[in-house]
């Protein structure tokens, strides 16, 4: 009898262990947290954004204007690198790209699925720091996906912080971000999925 109970317990615990592993694994499908690919040019955010304090928006020009922050075009690099470190082999790659008219094929690190709409500009204009979603970029030598970028992660942040601006809604007088979020239906599906 005891033996039977032990066997049942062992089988149950194996099922529970494997099952929970499977579920947690399955929930990670498509989540690329920690992704840190080798890029065609060894660009370092640490040198630019960290050591030299170049503002994020200097290169990522779309971040306050539209949906995509954008990877800077080669001519933006050459604004400075026309003068600075022109002999570096990595800078030469940009120069060659420009001369040969061959665009640089960066590997995309932060990726959202097609069915989720995200707009950088509304977060940047609301005063969200880049680091809140992208991690301590200024200390990364190679770009890494720091946060999971899952829907749960988006929602958790919005639940905690709310929405700062009710602009466009004539009736909402409150200044409390959490109340604004409730009033404008910040967690509605079609805010991001359409």
């Amino acid at each position: 009898m005891v033996k039977k109970i032990v066997v049942i317990l062992v089988v149950l615990s194996i099922i529970w262990f494997v099952g929970s592993q499977l579920i947690s694994q399955a929930r990670q499908v498509g989540v690329n947290q920690g992704y840190e690919p080798d890029q065609p040019i060894a660009f370092s955010h640490k040198v630019h954004a960290g050591d030299n304090q170049v503002a994020c928006l200097y290169c990522h020009v779309g971040a306050d204007k539209g949906r995509h922050a954008g990877i800077p075009s080669a001519n933006i690099c050459m604004n400075c690198h026309g003068q600075i470190k022109t002999d570096s082999p990595e800078i030469k790659k940009i120069k060659i790209a420009l001369e040969q008219k061959k665009p640089i094929e960066w590997l995309k690190v932060h990726r959202l699925p097609d069915f989720a709409y995200f707009n950088h500009s509304q977060h940047v204009t609301a005063g969200v720091n880049c680091q809140e979603c992208h991690g301590e970029v200024q200390s990364m030598t190679r770009m890494r996906q720091e946060k999971p970028l899952t829907m749960g992660w988006c929602i958790d942040c919005h639940r905690a912080k709310g929405i700062v601006s009710p602009s466009g809604h004539p009736d909402i007088k409150t200044k409390n971000p959490k109340e604004i979020m409730k009033a404008v239906g910040g967690l509605d599906c079609a805010k991001c999925h359409y």
Binding site: G70, E105, A190
Partner: protein, 991 residues
């Protein structure tokens, strides 16, 4: 009003058993479930079960370990200053969909145009755009366009082909340039310059430009010349008319400038802006039930042979009223009282009435001009001083040119935008000519004519071209390219310049032309560059119109009557037939556009085909049923039983049966051009033909009998007289019905939309606007037959009254975004839920495809993705090619197989509008957000806005007595409402 009985087709009116059977079924056909009895015996053992279990376990564990594939992000090398990835740029340009040349705004994302809309700056067109214009963008990404020039069928370089052509043209002798209608003044100037070239080569070089249009208005131009001394197509001023009589003229749908006419028409019939006193009365006399006729207050069907007689009868009646002696009458079937009442109404509004005819019978046009002249409309509503350039087709000149070619007096022929081998009544003559005359085609594809030409020099798409257009004198629209040419094509004008030996390109030529012609006509700008930049940016340049003069009518009318009497031969072949254009495919130029092919004709609701429209009485007499194939001369075509069709005459659409247009359009329908007769040098729009049964039946891809509304008062009508009465019944049931659901509180916005059925003319521009905006797939003829079309908005068409001449009401039907949505309560996975601002949201990534929601939807507006249209080779339309993909809106997801989709009330536009307001820090203003259907509507029947804003248009409109919800009794509380249709119709059908 309420006693009117509405019906969608003859099957419903007569209670056809197959219709009743269909009506009972939720889904039009049973699901195909294939299994054999022995399959049901479970043969799997416990071991098999464990094996399968283990496999799926391991499989899912493996799947969990995979990473997403590597994706590249490739930025610009040097980013153009005006481009921000993900932000749309809008450019003003001119539409190339037809010769109406509407002003457009093209939306480009990251350098590629994805949508075109009407340009509100172009005062002529009112800011809307028709279905053809909006679908025109898809033709840009048509991968059947030629990749470069061809010389004798071989691919060559532009230098090589230019050399050859220049050598051939130099001193060649007489060259015919067969062009489409040229609304571009600069192009006409260029051709004139080309004609005058090489005066030293006298006799050896002669260029004759001839304009060819398959559906020309030759008779109208000739009549104008005969009676007023000016060879023009007048500009008709619908907005200044109080009564309009259309005589076989589909001016709201396909004729001359439909967007302009629809805009003017609706302005004069907009009751919601208290336009009750000068409501435009519309009478239509026609053969086939056209879109225009279906909107008329009074409609009378006639055979095409009676056209001239009817026009003469109206003229005679008016002459009586004017105290003049009338002409001898011709026999016709309309009763005298109707003619009298029409004449009296026209007479009452002398100078503010309008009679338009699209007839190719010159006698009819003569009578119509005489009517307008007698009524004093010349110089008021019929403007001969600022003529329309939108159809310059000259049949007589084409016939002469063809004869010259046949007799060997022509050395070469150049086809610019013309394809006579397909569209001419006598294609074999053209084929014979092309065998002996050396020819160049500027077609963008190897069409019927180009495939027989010596050289093919493919033209750009309109959205790749620089040009100007002057659709109506003094209204100039500029065309600018919105994308770099996708192919190695070259703009036709550029080719002409090359062959002329002009240094420089067409852009420079155009600029110089604008400097000499347009710049001098204005005083606002001192420098030409500033003027040019401003004009290109605005897209329009309008100067004050010439003063309208009254022209006195010349010529003897009794001669015309004699002429009309002698036209018996035209109708001798048995069945009378009239030729018309369908709303989508028109004259067949855009036949390879799958959006237009799949657009159901608003009147017949048939897509992907042309057919012979037969009146119900005629069909009964001849024992014809829907889809029965008949033989017209040697052409076999299916029959569509069309209520409202004149008895004793059939109507067939041109533009179908293309053989060399591309995979979407080849072999769709049949080419009926060969049935048209050339009469006195004019290609007739009506004639006669022998008709016999072919003895087989096909199934048309008809959307007519789907989604039956079970005889409830879905559409409501009120006459103008009743509306004025204080006792006029309130159409909205305002009393509160009991509901199980909690009242939802909308704190932020409360979106709402209203459609005014008075102004909806059924033109279907919204259907294509929605398709372009929302990445709606094309499913093809076979799937439409299974009622699986994917359009998010459909135009429901209801008839009421007698079958031989019913009244028609159109009702755009899209998701009603019910407050108590029946779809939401049945979704097991919460894939369709309500938003706080009142939208019924469909979340595709959550949907598992149970289709319970579609089952429970009272409006039947949900669409199920039966196939992966974007990746399935059976649906080889635009979504499956790299080029065709470029038209997709990147802000909207392309839905996968097995999910439900439906109108989202353009939530992406709502979000975009809110975001713009947020970035600018201001409140959202009424009208800032325009939905795709609302924006595209040429007659501005759709209004969208926020009910939380008491000053918004929609807040005021929702208080109106005419406002109602469809199926109000269900208490699903939709946020989309309708306005009952106001007309001057008598109840119970047309007289």
């Amino acid at each position: 009003m309420s006693e009117k009985k509405y019906w969608k087709g003859p099957e419903e009116l007569h209670g056809d058993p197959s219709f009743i059977e269909k009506k009972k079924q939720e889904f039009p056909e049973e699901l195909p479930v294939f299994y054999q009895k022995e399959d049901l015996k479970l043969s799997a053992s416990r071991r098999d079960f464990l094996k399968i279990l283990g496999f799926s376990f391991a499989g899912s564990a493996l799947a969990a370990c995979t990473r997403m594939p590597v994706e590249k992000a490739i930025p610009y090398l040097v980013k153009p200053e005006e481009v921000t990835p993900g932000v749309a740029n809008w450019y003003a340009s001119a539409c190339g969909g037809c010769a109406a040349s509407c002003g457009i705004l093209a939306k480009t994302r990251d350098g590629r145009p994805i949508k075109v809309e009407g340009n509100p700056e172009a005062s002529l067109f009112g800011g809307g755009l028709c279905a053809v214009g909006q679908a025109h963008i898809l033709s840009l990404y048509d991968d059947e366009r030629l990749k470069g020039p061809l010389w004798q069928g071989q691919s060559v370089s532009w230098e090589k082909i230019d050399q050859e052509i220049k050598a051939k043209l130099a001193g060649a002798g007489r060259v015919i340039l067969l062009t489409q209608t040229l609304t571009s003044s600069a192009t006409r100037a260029l051709i004139d310059e080309w004609k005058k070239q090489n005066p030293s080569l006298k006799g050896q070089w002669q260029l004759d430009a001839v304009t060819y249009e398959p559906m020309s208005l030759s008779a109208l131009r000739e009549a104008c010349e005969k009676h007023f001394g000016v060879r023009v197509v007048p500009h008709y001023r619908l907005e200044e008319s109080d009564v309009v009589l259309g005589l076989n003229c589909d001016f709201l749908g396909t004729w001359l400038s439909p967007v302009e006419f629809a805009s003017a028409y609706s302005k004069r019939r907009r009751v919601r802006e208290n336009n009750k006193e000068n409501f435009l009365k519309h009478i239509q006399i026609e053969t086939s039930l056209s879109l225009t006729g279906s909107n008329a207050d009074q409609r009378i069907p006639i055979k095409p042979s009676e056209e001239a007689a009817v026009a003469l009868a109206v003229l005679n009646e008016l002459m009586k009223l004017a105290g003049q002696s009338s002409l001898s009458a011709l026999p016709h079937s309309i009763n005298a009282a109707d003619i009298q009442s029409i004449a009296q109404q026209l007479w009452k509004h002398r100078g503010r009435s309008l009679v338009i005819s699209g007839s190719q019978q010159i006698e009819t046009q003569s009578f119509v001009l005489a009517i307008n002249s007698l009524l004093g409309n010349i110089g008021t509503t019929v403007d001969l001083d600022n003529p329309s350039q939108q159809n310059q087709g000259d049949d007589r000149a084409v016939e002469e040119a063809l004869k010259d070619m046949e007799s060997g007096r022509v050395a070469a022929v150049i086809f610019y935008g013309t394809n006579p081998v397909y569209s001419h009544p006598e294609p074999e003559r053209w084929i014979a000519v092309l065998k002996k005359v050396w020819s160049i085609s500027l077609s963008d594809r190897l069409d019927e004519t180009a495939s027989l030409a010596t050289a093919v020099c493919p033209d750009h798409h309109a959205l790749e071209s620089w040009n100007d257009a002057e659709p109506v004198a003094h209204h100039v629209v500029f065309q600018q390219p919105v994308i770099r040419p996708l192919r190695e094509s070259r703009q036709a004008q550029e080719s002409f310049l090359k062959w002329m030996g002009y240094e420089g390109n067409y852009y420079q030529y155009l600029k110089e032309y604008a400097r000499s012609r347009y710049f001098s006509q204005q005083s606002g700008f001192l420098s030409f560059d500033a003027f040019w930049d401003h004009s290109i940016q605005q897209g329009v340049f309008e100067t004050s119109e010439s003063a309208r003069k009254n022209y006195s009518f010349q010529g003897s009318l009794s001669e015309v009557v004699e002429q009309a009497k002698s036209q018996k031969a035209l109708w001798a072949l048995g069945m009378e037939v009239s030729f018309y254009e369908k709303i989508g495919v028109r004259d067949g130029r855009g036949a390879n556009n799958p959006w237009l092919q799949e657009l159901p004709d608003p009147v017949s609701k048939v897509s992907w085909d042309n057919y012979a429209c037969v009146s119900p009485a005629q069909a009964k007499k001849m024992g014809l049923g829907e889809g029965d194939v008949v033989r017209l001369k040697d052409i076999e075509i299916p029959v569509h039983i069309q209520p409202g069709q004149a008895a004793g005459a059939i109507s067939v659409a041109v533009g179908y049966g293309r053989t060399h247009v591309g995979r979407a359009g080849n072999g769709v329908g049949v080419n009926v051009s060969r049935l048209r007769s050339v009469h006195g040098g004019v290609v007739m729009s009506a004639g006669s033909v022998s008709l016999e049964k072919a003895g087989r039946t096909v199934e048309l891809a008809c959307t007519q009998l789907h989604h039956s509304m079970e005889g409830r008062d879905i559409v409501r009508e009120v006459s103008l007289v009743d509306l004025a009465k204080a006792s006029h019944e309130d159409h909205g049931k305002k009393e509160k019905l009991i509901t199980l659901w909690d009242e939802k509180d909308k704190e932020g916005h409360a979106w709402s939309m209203a459609v005014d059925l008075t102004n909806c003319i059924g033109c279907s521009a919204c259907v294509i606007g929605c398709q372009a905006e929302n990445n709606v797939p094309v499913v093809g003829k076979d799937e439409v037959r299974r009622q699986r079309e994917m359009h998010w908005i459909r135009i429901d068409r209801y008839f009421n009254g007698p079958e031989d001449n019913p009244q028609t009401v159109y009702q755009p039907m899209m998701c009603q975004h019910c407050g108590n949505a029946p779809c939401e309560t049945v979704c097991p996975v919460l894939a369709t839920v309500h938003s706080s601002d009142g939208l019924n949201q469909q979340v595709y990534n959550r949907c598992v495809g149970t289709r319970y929601c579609a089952n429970n939807c009272p409006y039947k507006v949900r669409r199920f993705n039966w196939f992966d249209y974007a990746h399935n080779d059976s649906f080889n339309y635009n979504m499956n090619s790299d080029l065709g993909n470029m038209v997709l809106n990147p802000d909207i997801v392309v839905r996968m197989r097995g999910v439900m989709e439906k109108c989202s009330l353009c939530v992406q536009r709502i979000q975009e509008g809110k975001l713009a307001a947020k970035r600018e820090g201001g409140p959202l203003k009424d009208g800032d957000i325009k939905l795709a259907c609302e924006q595209s509507c040429p007659s501005q029947a759709i209004v969208f806005g926020d009910l939380k804003d008491p000053k918004s248009r929609i807040s005021k409109l929702n208080q109106d007595k005419r406002h109602y919800h469809v199926l109000e009794e269900l208490n699903v509380q939709p946020i989309v409402g309708y306005f009952s249709k106001v007309s001057e119709r008598s109840s119970g059908g047309h007289s």
